[in-house]
């Protein structure tokens, strides 16, 4: 585990990416790190591609991850993991939600959804953790909790005690969704991570 790191979150507007990076930022901050996170608002909620940069360390200057600088990428959608691949380096770990969401040009039949995305990542020598977060979230009865499932998987790769994540979830998630999100975190951290690591 390193004393600093760059985590890239990407996916599709509406998947709860900003909340996931927020929870992770809070956990890192409470664990004593300087933290900066950056994203672009405005267009995001309308189904566009979303990118969130999260950097932690003793002192973080730039809010942006440099191309080739991301130590971990968390892709909330399958093909989005390829869109931002220039941010990765050969030792990057990539958590990929295997859920597919058709971009507009695929939805209208003008283009095809890329095939063998996980294979494309592996062929480049990247270490990939595939997670069916949508299915895992459905299993606990709340499809919107897939973001916290992925945070649970991610928590295994960070130098932060799980209590900081749990506190962060308690702070950021509305009370009526808290129990299911804590369950999502647990499921992501244990079952989903074990399953992904064995693939």
């Amino acid at each position: 585990m390193k004393a600093k790191g760059d985590i890239l979150f990407c996916g599709v507007g509406g998947q709860g990416i900003v909340l996931a990076s927020e929870v992770t930022s809070l956990a890192l901050m409470e664990a004593g790190y300087d933290v900066k996170k950056s994203e672009v608002h405005g267009m995001a909620q309308r189904g566009g591609s979303v990118l969130s940069h999260l950097r932690y360390g003793k002192r973080v200057y730039s809010p942006l991850i440099a191309p080739g600088g991301a130590d971990i990428a968390v892709s909330f959608e399958l093909l989005e993991s390829l869109r931002y691949i220039h941010y990765l380096h050969p030792a990057s770990e990539v958590i990929v939600n295997t859920q597919r969401i058709a971009p507009p040009s695929v939805a209208t039949g003008a283009e095809r959804y890329p095939e063998h995305v996980i294979g494309q990542l592996k062929r480049r020598g990247l270490s990939v953790l595939p997670v069916d977060a949508f299915e895992a979230a459905r299993a606990i009865g709340e499809i919107k909790a897939e973001n916290v499932i992925l945070v649970g998987v991610l928590s295994n790769l960070l130098p932060v005690d799980k209590k900081y994540f749990i506190d962060a979830i308690k702070k950021k998630v509305p009370a009526r969704f808290l129990d299911v999100n804590l369950e999502a975190f647990r499921k992501g951290r244990t079952e989903c991570f074990t399953q992904a690591s064995s693939v």
Binding site: S38, G68, L88, E111
Partner: protein
């Protein structure tokens, strides 16, 4: 606390004892005012536009209360009129005007550099680098404003406003200025010869500010190696520190006026001097005018955002390429929401073969495929006036060929005067007012027509039909854009009319919580009935997907994603074989 730059600005203003805040929503500035509505003792309002917001804040300052206006960079253009005279008048209660620039144009029509306004309007400007500084600078600005009798500008960029970082909280302070009304004709009435008196006074105040800049603690030198030195400000400072941690840096927290002695002193002590700034060579040109040799835009890009990588590569002249390159893949642009009522209007317009003079809002996205139904976009309100210009330029040749389209919030911001102009000057334009009851694009803020205020209080509503008639329009019609047949009939009839008309397409935004609860059951496609004609795909609805057939890839059928469908029924109207149904039949 982990706060965004915008949340930090609101906190800083609160801690400075701000009493009145006004704004018009615009990315990346919106959350500043939204956050101020949550603090006790602060009156916060959405004004109809930025000019009004700055005037409201100026009035509060006249009354001896600390006040703030916030807006995006293009909003400052709208507010430029009061801005340029406010420096003459000065302040009583401290006044801060925040402008948020958008280098890279993530959600703006241009990437103008607002620092130029500081020099042009003779107003001092602070520029924070991160949320921590944003809070501190916002808090400081009010007392500085009172001390120098001048409004302060603060400029951020997307990577300050929408970055979250660690911020320390403090206590709420109070101004020494006593609230109340004070008549002072020389200071407050900008009529010659008082203007000349204040103009001369402004020079004296500017001189004092220049002296202050030399010792201002946020204009600071961080000494490192002396072979290379950097002058920088804002988020560019962070990129420089990351790219050249060993170099000497003169970090400017105040970018207008500049500390000439400090800059000259720094320049003398380093072998090679670079100025690193996003967008315009604002600092660089002034440094060069001081007779100092330096490099800036010879190597640093003038367009878009910088980053540590761009700065490093520009200075060293080396190019670093990341290990991987993204493969070619389908893009994922933002789209109009499923169930958006405006989709019906733009689908209709696309079928009419007209030139659509568009405006600023969610609906601008209908310029993209497959709707491709907006033909020009300039700035807030321009849809109406440019439509009128085309009408006058072409006369008979343009009849029935031009339509102006504008949203309700944008119409109140800058469209009303354009509509008055059409009626007054005998135009024949058709203006379609898209009325969904909110400023949707920036996150559904209430407008003067929504019936509630920024602080959640009830407000009178606004009668667009009565307004149209009051300014002399004879033809004002309201249509439900979910009823595409009538919408088409009315638009077609009005476009060909030789008189001006206002067509109000009214349906609340699908994202409003009260509307979400009233959704109709989702539709689905009967696979055996769908002929694969692709008609429904022309709506560009995110809920409708093309499923290619296994045997013949050119053939296929449409499918509706249940969780996305809002049951608006637009696709049902288009389907000629009645293949789209819901559980109600």
């Amino acid at each position: 606390m982990l706060l965004s730059g915008n949340e930090a600005i609101a906190l800083g203003a609160y801690e400075a004892g701000v009493g009145v805040a006004a704004a018009y929503p615009g990315t990346p500035s919106t959350e500043i005012l939204e956050n101020l509505t949550r603090y006790k003792g602060v009156y916060a309002e959405w004004s109809p536009n930025e000019k009004v917001a700055v005037e409201v804040a100026l009035g509060a300052s006249f009354a001896g209360v600390r006040a703030m206006a916030s807006m995006k960079h293009v909003g400052l253009n709208n507010a430029a009129d009061p801005l340029f005279t406010s420096s003459y008048i000065g302040v009583r209660g401290g006044l801060l005007i925040v402008t948020t620039d958008d280098p890279g144009m993530y959600s703006s029509q241009n990437e103008q550099d607002s620092r130029n306004y500081a020099m042009a309007a003779k107003i001092p400007m602070l520029e924070p680098s991160d949320p921590g500084e944003a809070k501190e600078f916002a808090k400081l600005a009010f007392s500085l404003s009172e001390r120098f009798d001048i409004p302060f500008l603060m400029r951020t960029t997307t990577r300050v406003s929408h970055v979250k970082g660690i911020v320390r909280t403090g206590k709420r302070a109070e101004s020494k200025v006593k609230p109340g009304l004070e008549k002072d004709i020389v200071k407050l009435v900008m009529l010659p010869p008082f203007t000349n008196i204040r103009r001369e006074d402004l020079e004296r105040r500017s001189e004092r500010l220049k002296k202050f800049a030399e010792t201002f603690k946020h204009n600071r030198i961080e000494w490192g190696g002396k072979k290379v030195g950097f002058i920088t400000s804002g988020v560019s400072y962070l990129y420089v520190k990351e790219a050249f941690p060993e170099a000497s840096v003169l970090k400017l927290g105040m970018v207008h006026p500049l500390p000439e002695k400090l800059i000259k002193d720094f320049a003398r002590k380093v072998d090679k001097l670079y100025v690193v700034e996003e967008l315009d060579p604002f600092i660089e040109l002034q440094v060069k005018a001081m007779g100092i040799k330096c490099k800036g835009k010879e190597v640093i890009p003038t367009q878009g955002e910088l980053s540590q990588t761009i700065v490093k590569n520009a200075i060293t002249g080396k190019k670093t390429a990341p290990a991987y390159k993204p493969p070619k893949m389908p893009g994922r642009p933002p789209v109009m929401c499923p169930g958006c009522a405006y989709r019906g209007v733009f689908y209709t317009l696309k079928g009419l073969d007209v030139f659509v003079a568009g405006d600023i809002g969610c609906y601008t996205l209908s310029a993209l495929k497959p709707l491709s139904a907006i033909d020009s976009v300039v700035c807030m309100g321009a849809g109406i006036s440019t439509g009128h210009g085309m009408d006058k330029a072409l006369g008979e040749r343009g009849r029935g060929k031009v339509v102006s389209v504008i949203g309700d919030s944008t119409f109140i911001h800058s469209g009303i005067t354009g509509l008055i102009n059409i009626v007054y000057n005998g135009g024949t334009s058709t203006v379609i007012l898209l009325d969904n009851g909110v400023t949707a694009m920036t996150g559904r803020q209430p407008t003067p027509a929504s019936g509630r205020t920024a602080m959640g209080e009830l407000a009178p509503t606004f009668d667009f039909e009565a307004l149209g008639r009051a300014i002399g329009l004879k033809h004002v019609y309201v249509v439900d854009p979910y009823d595409m047949k009538t919408t088409r009939e009315v638009i077609e009839r009005e476009v060909n009319r030789e008189e001006p008309s206002l067509v109000i397409a009214r349906r609340p935004c699908m994202l409003l919580p009260e509307v979400r609860g009233m959704r109709e059951p989702a539709y689905f496609v009967l696979a055996e009935k769908c002929t694969g004609c692709r008609k429904c795909l022309g709506l560009g609805c995110p809920a409708i997907t093309w499923v290619p057939s296994d045997k013949d890839k050119k053939k296929g059928r449409a499918e509706i994603t249940e969780v996305l469908c809002t049951g608006c029924g637009l696709c049902v109207e288009l389907c000629k074989v009645e293949a789209i149904v819901n559980d109600e039949g």
